[in-house]
């Protein structure tokens, strides 16, 4: 069996100082060579690992024959954002984990192939979609993240008149304000939004549901509503010193960098503190993105402080590797106790404690326990907290009867229906912070449920 084709990357030293995309994508020969590794299993396990069930052997077979147009058409039957998913899906725990070749350690690089096909199509220019005949039904989609983009596209294809409401001044949700340019170029997100506009979706930014209009008003104005409001409310640790100057939530740090383009300050006017020594608390994708952004802003040393071990890091493997190559320091089994204050209420350092892994908890993960007497101080001038987010609460004002869990997530049934008759929900707002592809899967399901509801009402 031929070895898995390596992804060409920008040189680590160089890329650690710029915001250009890190992974450069396969060349055509590489893509065909990688596609040729697929056994086209008759009972393809890989498909079971994909939340939207992309016909993986199907599109790969077309790639082998050099039919990239056919391949992208196959992918798009179930995945409307392949250029995004090919880049950011945690493939190693989804499609690629179940690939039969994974047992030997080298699954087919499904994500990279998907990305190749999507980029191939983008280079040629995506043909404007045909509009479906109107059903005369009106649907409101709240939020403009992957869940909403998918739901809006599917609903528009069914012929419904869709209006999308987004609180921020730009669309894309986390794809725009959270995931940095070097991992997901914003031009790709923009093109996807253009595509749904061509399908007839009316996109309104600067429009907050719960403020300009309540959900109850929206339900009266439209025949059905989809809520894809995400989970963007940052959590803090509640430790001493967390409000000092120089302590950011990852969301604030990344929003300044991505949405407001602070990395191009002062050409773009939004400032950001460029630290010399930066500590990022957390071990997920968000923490990796914040750490690598801080490095690119010119920091001398950036450390990830994470309370569990290497194997427990929730971030994508590939991004952990990328971060290490770029020189991010991993301080594992370490937890912050308090943030130390310097002059003028700025940050001077972080007092941390070492952790040991104890017995497995309910989630099956071994929970960390502090080691007494192991306190130590790490110098820092910037601290970024990336320990998770909860659902955006603003939608809840003026939404009588919308059932939410104690965690603040919107409660839905197996067909994405909320407790209110013509309202569906999906994505991070329902699951808590999860993945792009699961949000898309939920948007797709909700679109089906809404279309069915509209046929009967």
């Amino acid at each position: 069996m031929a070895a898995r084709q390596a992804m060409p990357h920008q040189d680590p030293k160089e890329r650690a100082r710029n915001f250009d995309e890190v992974a450069l994508g396969y060349a055509e020969e590489q893509a065909i060579a990688e596609a040729s590794r697929c056994l086209e299993c008759r009972n393809p396990k890989c498909v079971q690992g994909c939340p939207v069930e992309v016909d993986i052997p199907g599109f790969i077979a077309q790639m082998k024959a050099g039919n990239f147009d056919g391949a992208i058409a196959t992918i798009k039957l179930t995945n409307s954002l392949p250029a995004v998913c090919g880049r950011v899906c945690p493939q190693e725990v989804q499609c690629e984990e179940l690939c039969v070749l994974a047992k030997k350690g080298e699954p087919v690089a499904i994500g990279r192939l998907e990305r190749f096909c999507a980029d191939h199509e983008r280079k040629k220019g995506v043909a404007a979609p045909l509009r479906t005949q109107s059903t005369g039904k009106r649907v409101a989609v709240v939020g403009a993240g992957p869940a909403s983009l998918t739901a809006a596209a599917d609903l528009a294809k069914e012929g419904h008149a869709v209006t999308m409401f987004e609180a921020l001044h730009d669309t894309g949700g986390v794809l725009t304000y959270g995931i940095p340019e070097f991992r997901l170029p914003k031009a790709i997100v923009k093109d996807e939004v253009e595509y749904i506009k061509q399908l007839g979706v009316d996109v309104k930014v600067d429009y907050i549901i719960g403020k300009i209009k309540t959900l109850d008003e929206l339900r009266n104005d439209f025949d059905a509503v989809f809520l894809g409001t995400g989970a963007g409310l940052p959590k803090f640790m509640g430790i001493e010193g967390e409000n000092l100057n120089g302590v950011y939530s990852a969301n604030e740090f990344l929003t300044r960098v991505n949405l407001m383009k602070a990395y191009r300050f002062p050409d773009y006017n939004t400032p950001i503190k460029r630290g010399k020594r930066v500590i990022v608390v957390g071990g997920g994708n968000v923490a990796m993105d914040a750490a690598r952004s801080a490095l690119r802003l010119g920091a001398e040393e950036v450390s990830i402080v994470y309370r569990r071990g290497e194997d427990e890091l929730p971030a994508r493997k590939e991004e952990v590797e990328n971060a290490k190559e770029e020189g991010i320091v991993f301080r594992l089994l370490t937890n912050p106790v308090r943030i130390l204050q310097g002059d003028n209420m700025t940050v001077k350092g972080v007092e941390c404690i070492r952790m040991e892994l104890g017995e497995p908890d309910e989630s099956g993960r071994r929970s960390p326990v502090p080691k007494a007497g192991s306190e130590h101080v790490i110098d820092a001038d910037i601290v970024i907290i990336a320990i998770g987010t909860s659902p955006n609460p603003m939608i809840l004002s003026g939404s009588d009867g919308l059932k939410v869990s104690p965690r603040g997530t919107i409660v839905v049934d197996e067909s994405a229906k909320t407790s209110i008759e013509n309202v569906c929900a999906g994505g991070d707002a329902v699951t808590g912070a999860a993945t792009v592809i699961s949000a898309m899967g939920a948007g797709k399901l909700a679109a089906q449920t809404i279309s069915e509801y509209l046929r009967n009402n």
């Binding site: 609180a167 921020l168 001044h169 304000y177 309104k204 930014v205 600067d206 429009y207 907050i208 403020k211 300009i212 209009k213 963007g232 409310l233 940052p234 803090f236 509640g238 967390e242 409000n243 100057n245 950011y248 939530s249 969301n251 604030e252 929003t255 300044r256 407001m260 383009k261 300050f265 002062p266 050409d267 773009y268 006017n269 939004t270 400032p271 950001i272 503190k273 003028n344 209420m345 955006n392 609460p393 603003m394």
Partner: protein
Amino acid sequence: MSYTILEKKQIAPQVHLMKVLAPDVARAAKAGQFIILRIDETSERIPLTIADFDADEGYVTIIFQEMGKTTKQLAKMTDRDVLLDFVGPLGKPADVRKLGTVILVGGGVGIAPVYPQVKAYRDAGNKVISVIGARNKDLLILEDEMQAASDELHIATDDGSRGHHGFVTDVAKKILDSGEKIARIVVIGPPILMKVAAGMTAPYGVETIVSLNPIMIDGTGMCGGCRVSVGGETKFACVDGPEFDAHKVDFNLLMSRLGLYRPEEAQCQETHQCTCRSGN
């Protein structure tokens, strides 16, 4: 999106009033709320209080003081120019109820956000005593409007060029000392004024409300940049506020966080001025 400026005028040195066409915001706005605007693609998002609004005509009035790059750029705009973004109404509306007699204190451009509250408290059946002040008489804004909307209007200037020679807090203290029963004091202005006012009213045990102005980005509760400490708890001013119980607010933290980007702000303005001087 784009939002047309219907009217723009200077109302005091470096203080400007703007009516912006934003029918959706105007329809939903309530006293105490604010908007966030962005002039163009490269601008910062800046928060400004809703100083007035007209749901029928579909406009929102903002009053701002030239501080740095964005507000200076905004000051140069004129009628029919357009703003790229104008989102709101943000924050919780002021908790206006019938309480009896209330004192509303506005300092500097803080008079602007106080004005809609004066009307709202009046409409709710309260007796409203307003106290407004500024460094000198030229900087005093909305005097006629405040006169018309209030039951009583007191004026103070730091240099004595108009009204009481001294601070608005002195005047408010005199009213408290006069023995009139005051149900609540609302104070809006520079953080230092709000801090002093909180200290002044504490011994009287009068409920004191301030409207906090920390640095904000999204205004939707998504970044935590606007966090303030109230009664030892961390709150996000954009969604939990902007109004809080003055006696519980950590003003020192607020003031230090407001100064966070001072070096960057200076740099931003410098670059801006350089390009202007180069003649293009």
